[in-house]
Symmetry: C2
């Protein structure tokens, strides 16, 4: 609470603080008419006269009209704020700003006065209430709002209400504007900025919303001081000891602040947002609408041009980070099911299209089946109607993490007719929403999860589940290493599950090569998750003889100064079909451990590998009509452990999902080599089981030295494939190796030989 005292002193003076020295002096071109944010008078004219050329625009307009008309009929309600995100007042105020923004757009496009009146009446109701509002009564946030329990939602409100106000600005008298601005908008903007610097002056999606909100209302009111505050932040001391509700740092020493500083540092040069796609989706909205508003206002320095055009790259990357159904890969804290269908993505795609003209974006817009009610949305709808669409064509891709692209990254391998997608993570921590999941991967086929990333333990806005906020199990389970397809040493999460340590490190890409669609490989190294141990994981999508789908080869090498217990989980989804190891039910059923997520795992069954010939464990499961087999190299003392999530969770905050854990005891240096093999199909309608058996006869680590590893895979038709991996290689280095009597020479980090002669 201590900064509140400091800040109330600052509040009066800061709004006239000097503009920080920016790279160029910003001056507005002083537009004399409204609207001027996401829509311009020229846009309005074009839409009014040429709307018939853009049927998807009309569809979207009709939908908005139906929604707004229903709300107008219902009457305006601006209840005294009371609830967390699951409750009525939260939902009502949220709905208000969304509807007001749409009503403003309807007024501009249709010219019907009732929409302007509706917005005006709502704004005056807020203006009458706002002056007397104390802080929101719910105390949980590190930065409490007034309309909502956190400043973040207040900032959402202002981003949308700025647009509503902008749309009806010209319909109001000067007196009306003065009333709204003095009683509502200026104190509102001050509360989320000067009165809440711990919220406003960060490098974080919260501050992106906060700065965009202040900047946008500043643009509407033509208030350059507010615009400068938004673009460059408050000139304040640091808050380096403070944490937010998620445990993230408020601000670190020496950081710049403001919208531009956020834009410059939030994305890697490849447009990857370090918190992951779920939060990237959330952050894109204020980035893009404020960027477009600055563009429409004709500011000298444009947001779209900053950092080498990273905003538009970020839209491209965000689309790449979705599965074949358009759902985002749930990396770090992320609610599953969020997808390209979200409103934020309609905004992102439409604005990016207007800025870039990339016709592949029209392909995504077509799946969304709606557009923004502004110039950008019109352009998209018009060009779809004019058949300018080009297939987006998601591809295998690696993106860097970190502001300068030097903090690890993320790779997606894509292949096959069944849309096999493998997401391999070797990023930095991902700020306070990051998970302890170094070198983990998840696997998708036809948009279905095969090996899942759990996502977050939260039901956003569902009041009965912890007020719709993060649940305790997000920390105790979802963030932990064992919750991911990641190696866990001695039942302890990476970096001991400590954010301060994790934030200092990142994994390192070894190599990424997708030149040959039949042999796509990515490899990365993690040396800091466990002091004294290092891990290298190489995953490859391979086409094998006799297999109709590509298979995943997964080679995880660990080197350690000590003997350890290694757990390698596979979070499969579906029905167990069979294992080649006899399983014994755990009785009485116990949890797998005490902490680091292990306390949530019930042991269902165990199997001892013992002398399983030929040294491979095999596990087949069935999910959504498709078979999958995991074939793994095994040591005689290894165990298979089948677990079920849900121990110590009488509130049922967690899903009851299964996992298979490969456990190796009392070992230092070792290799886990596995194949994940999609095969065949089962239909309950024709009751045919096709190719229900694995096509892998044997998987072997044939050689493992300081410099090289050689893995061989033999299929049922006795065809052998060898993958040669060079460790510690430098780019373009030549290698030579002999196995049995066969000599092989190659250049680069790996080499694949099919149809090996014995």
């Amino acid at each position: 609470m201590k900064w509140f005292i400091v800040l109330s002193l600052l509040a009066a003076s800061v709004s006239c603080a000097q503009q920080p020295a920016g790279p160029s002096t910003e001056t507005a071109t002083q537009p004399t008419t409204h609207p001027r944010l996401v829509m311009t008078p020229t846009d309005v004219q074009k839409i009014r006269s040429q709307r018939h050329q853009a049927p998807l625009f009309t569809t979207s307009l009709d939908a908005a009209k139906a929604e707004v008309d229903a709300e107008i009929a219902l009457g305006i309600d601006t209840p005294i704020p009371r609830d967390y995100s699951g409750g009525y007042t939260h939902a009502r105020h949220k709905k208000n700003y969304a509807v007001a923004q749409k009503a403003g757009a309807l007024y501009q496009i249709l010219g019907e006065a009732k929409y302007a009146s509706y917005v005006r009446d709502m704004l005056f109701q807020y203006a009458d209430m706002y002056g007397d509002l104390p802080l929101h009564p719910k105390p949980r946030s590190y930065a409490r709002g007034k309309i909502f329990w956190q400043c973040l939602n207040d900032a959402n409100w202002l981003v949308f209400m700025s647009q509503a106000y902008d749309a009806i600005y010209e319909t109001l008298s000067k007196e009306e504007r003065d009333t709204l601005e003095s009683k509502l908008f200026r104190p509102f903007a001050d509360h989320i900025s000067v009165a809440s610097p711990q919220f406003f002056n960060r490098i974080h999606n919260h501050s992106t919303w906060g700065t965009a909100a202040v900047g946008m209302i500043g643009l509407v009111m033509n208030d350059d001081a507010l615009i400068q505050r938004a673009l460059y932040g408050l000139d304040l001391d640091n808050f380096s000891d403070e944490r937010d509700n998620d445990g993230g740092f408020i601000r670190q020493a020496g950081q710049q602040a403001g919208f531009f500083a956020n834009l410059d540092s939030a994305f890697s040069p490849d447009g990857y947002y370090t918190e992951g796609p779920y939060y990237q989706r959330y952050a894109m909205y204020p980035y893009l609408v404020f960027a477009q508003s600055l563009s429409n206002a004709g500011y000298a320095e444009q947001a779209f041009a900053r950092s080498n055009g990273v905003l538009l790259k970020a839209v491209e990357t965000l689309i790449q980070l979705s599965d074949s159904d358009g759902e985002f890969f749930p990396l770090n804290d992320a609610q599953k099911g969020m997808s390209l269908q979200a409103n934020e993505l309609v905004t992102a795609v439409d604005i990016a299209y207007q800025a870039s003209g990339d016709p592949r974006l029209l392909d995504i817009a077509q799946t969304q089946q709606r557009v923004l009610l502004d110039g950008a949305g019109y352009a998209v709808a018009r060009d779809i109607a004019a058949s300018k669409t080009v297939p987006f064509g998601k591809s295998s891709v690696a993106v860097t993490d970190g502001r300068t692209g030097t903090e690890g990254g993320l790779a997606i391998l894509r292949a096959g007719n069944d849309n096999l997608e493998l997401v391999f993570k070797y990023t930095s921590q991902g700020l306070s929403h990051g998970h302890y999941d170094k070198l983990s991967y998840s696997l998708y086929e036809q948009g279905h999860e095969v090996l899942q990333d759990y996502g977050m333990a939260r039901f956003v806005n569902l009041g009965q589940k912890g007020g719709g906020n993060y649940l305790p199990e997000n920390s105790t389970w979802a963030k932990q290493s064992i919750a991911h397809n990641a190696l866990v040493i001695n039942e302890t999460s990476h970096f001991q599950g400590q954010y301060d340590i994790g934030s200092k490190h990142h994994s390192q890409l070894d190599f990424f090569d997708v030149q040959n669609p039949a042999v796509q490989v990515v490899s990365a190294i993690e040396s800091n998750a466990y002091p004294g141990s290092s891990m290298r994981r190489t995953v490859a999508l391979l086409n094998l003889s006799g297999s109709t789908s590509p298979v995943i080869l997964d080679v995880l090498e660990v080197q350690s100064e000590s003997n350890n217990q290694y757990d390698l989980p596979f979070h499969f989804l579906g029905q167990v079909v069979e294992t080649n190891i006899e399983l014994a039910p755990a009785s009485p059923t116990t949890t797998l451990g005490k902490a680091h997520g292990y306390q949530h795992l019930i042991v269902e069954a165990r199997g001892d590998v013992k002398g399983t010939a030929p040294g491979n464990t095999k596990f087949t499961w069935l999910n959504k009509g498709r078979f999958y087999t995991l074939t793994s190299t095994a040591e005689p003392a290894d165990e298979l452990i089948f677990t079920r999530l849900g121990a110590n969770d009488a509130s049922y905050n967690l899903r009851r999902d299964p996992a298979l854990i490969l456990r190796r005891n009392d070992t230092s240096d070792t290799v886990f080599a596995s194949i994940v093999e999609p095969h065949g199909s089962y239909s309950p309608i024709n009751e045919l089981a096709i190719d229900a058996q694995s096509n892998i006869k044997q998987l072997q680590v044939e050689l493992n030295t300081t410099d090289y590893m050689v893995i061989s895979l033999t299929t049922m038709d006795d065809q052998k494939t060898r993958l040669y991996l060079a460790k510690n290689q430098e780019s373009g280095m030549a290698h030579q190796l002999q196995i049995n009597s066969t000599q092989v020479a190659w250049t680069g980090p790996f080499h694949l030989v099919q149809k090996v002669t014995p």
Copy 2:
């Protein structure tokens, strides 16, 4: 094995056994040309000349052509029989007869000789092999086949191969026909009939297949002895002590046998098949193709006309027994996912349409998107193209069980825009595939399971799961009462889970009234499942004030001579949202019991009701974006028990599904009243939770006497609804009752009063 000895003596003599006295003497009209089974020369002519009028026929023809051409390219393989249903030889022979049947149809329609040659070559390969074949080497069946491990599959083979032979009959020389008939078809027909009377001479779907197979090959060969054998069975002694592999009786004293006897007794007068829709689907194929073959052959007595036209009623009923996605309700032994899309249903719908001309069947055919390659399929495709389709319109319906319709039955209540479907079961045992699930119900919304029926524990044709056959857990779990939404007394299944006892009894319909779509009610009584106890369950779909969807009111009254433990399970699917009772995790986790299915249930959490105001327990869950709340009247000593399936199942033959069990201890007469309430929605894309809370404020049993029960429901807007139930009432009886100062009079078994004044 003992009947084998008897039968080998009988085998030689029986094929010339006298024809049993049928209701009329059957004489064939001696058709002189082929084809004469499912297709006639007239059909062929019409199809050849008018195919352009039926695009769906052409689509189906093209698909068959592609499949058969690929098989012709692959070459014919008739391997020596070896495997159970999961294995290669089983799948290959199955594929052979399916492809041969299609190749025959292609020959007739396209006139291309290569299709006739393909069928001929395959038949001769079988003829060469068949004579030397011993019984199939796999010993598991009570009636072993030669091509397959059971006679049932051999009969499938002959039903299809008869059609293939029929199609190419005219292309063969007399010598070729003699060879095929003497080396293949006659011994084949004899093996599944005279050599396997325990298979052939039953009232069971096995015998339906067996008799149809023998009858159809008899029709092709114009062999009246075979046709008579098929229609009227073998004249043999009973096999009343024998059981089949499912524990069912081979044959009971005094039963008739043969195709007609099966037809007469398999269905209730309403067309319900006592084993349930999954097996009805399976049995419909031989019933309909043989019926159509008899019709095409011009037999005096027609199968379609028998038993008041029950075959066509059965098709109608079968369609009614599917959910809004077209999947069959998985009553008794049934694999989930089987649907109107199955090949057998294409056959059923097309043949029924040809026989009845009911244009609602075209609606189903349109969803199937394919038709039979014969006259029936042509008629369907032509009439769809001619826009004769009428919506099928599934409705609330009650069907009787038992040959005379006096052995209980099944009711389906349907209501609401979200396709709420409740399936209430008060049938007889359902032969050897029946489950111990008296007065249970399952619930569906938009084709999703809300309260599930587990179905069967079997993965049909998936070799790795017990050879694709029934798994041990089908008996130890799936058939048991606790596996259903059915009351279980003292941890013992209905009829002690004993088939012999269960087969003697059936439940009794009390009343069924769906006149008013806003108040649909069904009630039934079970007096034999537990000696000394009787149960009456009344379920109603009600529209309530303030609820956007209908709710289910479920009133289960039990009367008993002794004090008992009662368990009422609700097999919900989805994520637990909340309960109004505090739950404690079970630790260490234990199974709920030792037998009758309880040994497979892991206790996850328990809650004690104690003094929960206002005497209601509440449980809300979330499934597929929809909320559901169960509100139940509770006694202070009641317990809520949350369970998870899967204990004592290290082979993972069972799904890990949840259930909530309401437990009441040490009680004799009592009432369980519950409301199951679908409400609101949750979307992970807009992250909005709409109407996430129950609309039920209170549920009360206000009165319970020998003659009457009164239940009241109060919604959140304080509107009270009362349901008056008259027990022991006779049709049209008038009732009068006073509660507080309110006097109510009505006629009939129930009376609903909305907006009760307090």
